[in-house]
Amino acid sequence: MLSGLTFKILTVETQEKILTQVKMPFCPGCGHGISTRSISEALEQLGYGTKDVSIVSDIGCAGLVDPLFATHSIHGLHGRSPALGVGVSLGIDNPKKKTIVIQGDGGATIGLQHILEAARRNIDMTLVVFNNMLFGMTGGQMSGLSTNEFKDYKQSADEADPYDVVQLAHTAGAAYTRRVNHIANFTPALKEAIATPGFSLVELASLCTSYAMKKVSEYQEYIVEEEKFLNDRPVGHLPLRQTKPLIENMKGLDALFANNLDGRIGILIAGSAGGGVQSAAQQLAQAGILAGLHSTMKGEYPITVGTGFSIAEVILSKDPIHYTGLEKSDVALIITEDGFKKVKDLLAPQTKVWIDDKAEIESNYTQKGFSKAGGKKGAALSAIAYWLNESGVFSPDALLKVVENHKYAPELQQAINSYKLV
């Protein structure tokens, strides 16, 4: 697993100090100071310079680390540093640079999803969790990584078993995960983790002398045993792509057909999901452009796209269209009961309405066999072509032109031409 690692050959002259000379801000005896120094030692021993490293930290006692590092740093929100680190690592996208994320056990609890996501994607970064089993900055409350033994000792009311973040990150796909309890092992473990390409996580046991015990020897009775896991997986990258313009290559719709429209007309097409209403309405709007008109097409449907009503409003106009709503519909083509229920209150006395004769709707509106002629998926197109032919606004041939290069051209042409059978 670690065979591909490269270590720089260091000399006293080339080695940069990763830590600043700033005094550690932690309480006397706090374990975070040792963890911080161990990270620095590991980076220095691996040959990283100050400009090679970005320290990502968040809130809590562990979040006090960024001034201690002479590297680049970014200090963010409680629990979110693993997510911020993903962006930093992918944004830098340079295997010679290292993203080190530091958070406490409280932060790891808040941002557990971020840890799993970074592990799942095997993003090239190292997360170091300073686990003192409590929220130190707010008074020693239990975290999701507090062990049951420690919670009993603290007389916590929370009986839920703790997360094993090392195991979880491994299961999610991290390249390297390890829990380390003994100070002597901190630097070697961190070196292994940092040198492993992909996502690595090291949980370091850290004593909180303010809210836990005063002695490491006592504290050792409350921690989880050390463990280490490896996954041999490709490192997550976000490759740069060459893409094609979205607009430049759009095919222009030249005015090839005549129209007989004065002013503006609003057409309501009302059917059910899966009935081709939205695409038929879009084709009508495109055909309108081919007939030298301005057009709009607005769709409305429930959030469950595949069921229920499907309504489309098309406006055709001699003049440019600003407002795209339909204050009144001049024409309504009703394909199904679902569609009718949705639009019946929008039909004005002057609206010319045609209803498919298969729709079970009691009304005095004219019924026509659109679905009989065009089929279930072609009924909307059949109705549109029928209306175009009846009204003479422009020829249904404009519709045929729109669909001529469609992958389902024969079926669509058949649906359009079916108006002759209605």
Binding site: T50, K51, D52, S54, D66, P67, T71, H72, S73, I74, H75, G76, L77, R80, A83, L84, G85, V86, G87, V88, L90, G91, I92, D93, N94, Q113, H114, E117, L238, L240, R241, T243, K244, P245, L246, I247, M250, K251, G252, L253, A255, Q282, A285, Q286, G288, I289, L293, H294, S295, T296, M297, K298, G299, E300, I303, H322, Y323, T324, G325, E327
Partner: protein, 370 residues
């Protein structure tokens, strides 16, 4: 003289905005699917040089912040439910002074509301979205040409002022398709992101007279950079109530408000001797345009103001409004949020609102109020 041949297509503003952002130099789209911003997601997947599907809203904006700190210009698109979850990180990115563009497509609320129904109901939330009263630049396109130019201006403002910028749209603006002559869209140049000269020793948050610190990315070989979301001094280290650190926080407000002329966008169609002014923004602007045209056709003298830079409120907006005896705000929300932003909730005979909830505001409904 070369004349352009028109090229009419049926198109939506999601496509226009996506293309404009990429041409302006946006590097990466990070998003997750949410109605009615879905089209941004699907177009961006095809067009952005880098595309990343986020697992949730908080991760999306955290990832974007990381990319931005590394020198990339990230973009996302969401709606209110996503924006609400992004709010803490939006404040973080604002405090860190990280350039990014967020497209917010408004839909009917509250809560999950009606995802496929348009609205203009998020403006007041955005007015206070940065804790402490700092302004966040909010641009709102009123038609397809605006969609193109304001997307570019959003990217430009984000980089120039080192700030997140919001492009505030709505469902009907970005999903309704219209015939449109795409030859009217001039090609866009990528925003200049070269490193500006800086005073040595470099400090991440030390600003000059323009009040915007020179941006250097993480991992650069020139200088150490320290981004910080907590109150911080010029070095980027946490400072508590000291003059330098508080000054840095004040500067976030000042850099935008003192230079607002550089990103003030509006459309003012003044009619001589008009005493009435219709004010609108976003999706309702087209209804306002039609309403004003109809009123004028019938002999009524009326002027029209379309606000495009919504926040911070440009002084020019007040300057125009103050010239009129009667002002009618046209908006697709319950109370007239833009009106309330400018005048508060107090009712007045001089200040009217034409509003609609759950449907598009129509020209005739605006005319009724005038």
């Amino acid at each position: 003289m070369e004349t352009k041949t028109s090229k009419n297509v049926l198109i939506d503003a999601s496509r226009i905005i996506t293309e404009a952002l990429v041409q302006s130099g946006a590097d990466v789209f990070i998003g997750y699917p949410i109605t009615p911003s879905n089209l941004f997601y699907s177009y961006s997947k095809l067009r952005f040089p880098q595309f990343l599907a986020g697992p949730d809203e908080i991760s999306v904006l955290q990832w974007m912040s990381g990319f931005s700190a590394a020198g990339k210009l990230p973009v996302t698109a969401t709606a209110f439910p996503g924006l609400a979850l992004m709010t803490e990180t939006l404040n973080m990115a604002y405090m860190m002074e990280l350039p990014m563009v967020l497209i917010i497509t408004q839909r009917l609320g509250p809560s999950t509301g009606s995802a496929t129904t348009g609205a203009q109901g998020d403006l007041k939330f955005l007015d206070g979205v940065i804790s402490g009263g700092m302004p966040l630049p909010i641009f709102s396109p009123s038609n397809f040409n605006d969609a193109w130019t304001l997307a570019h201006e959003a990217a430009k403002t984000a980089i120039k002022f080192r700030t997140p910028v919001i492009l505030l749209t709505s469902k009907e603006m970005v999903m309704t398709q219209k015939s449109f002559d795409i030859s009217t869209l001039e090609p866009l140049e990528p925003i200049d992101r070269s490193i500006k000269p800086y005073e040595k020793p470099y400090q991440t948050y030390k600003a000059g007279a323009d009040k915007v610190p020179v941006f250097l990315p993480l991992a650069n070989e020139l200088e150490q950079v320290r981004f910080n979301s907590s109150t911080h001094n010029n070095l980027g280290l946490i400072g508590k109530n000291d003059a330098e650190s508080l000054g840095n926080t004040w500067r976030l407000k000042e850099k935008l408000e003192t230079r607002i002329d550089e990103f003030t966008f509006y459309e003012y169609d003044a009619q001589t001797d008009a005493k009435n002014l219709v004010v609108s923004w976003g999706i309702s602007a087209d209804a306002a345009r039609d309403a004003v045209a109809n009123l004028r056709k019938n002999g009524k003298k009326v002027s029209l103001l379309i606000a495009k830079t919504l926040l911070p409120v440009p002084p020019k907006i007040y300057e125009i409004i103050d010239q009129y005896e009667e002002i009618t705000f046209a908006e697709e929300n319950m109370t007239g949020m833009y009106k309330e932003m400018l005048y508060g909730k107090r009712q007045s005979t001089q200040i009217k609102v034409a509003t609609k909830f759950g449907m598009m505001l129509s020209p005739s409904e605006i005319i009724e109020k005038i």
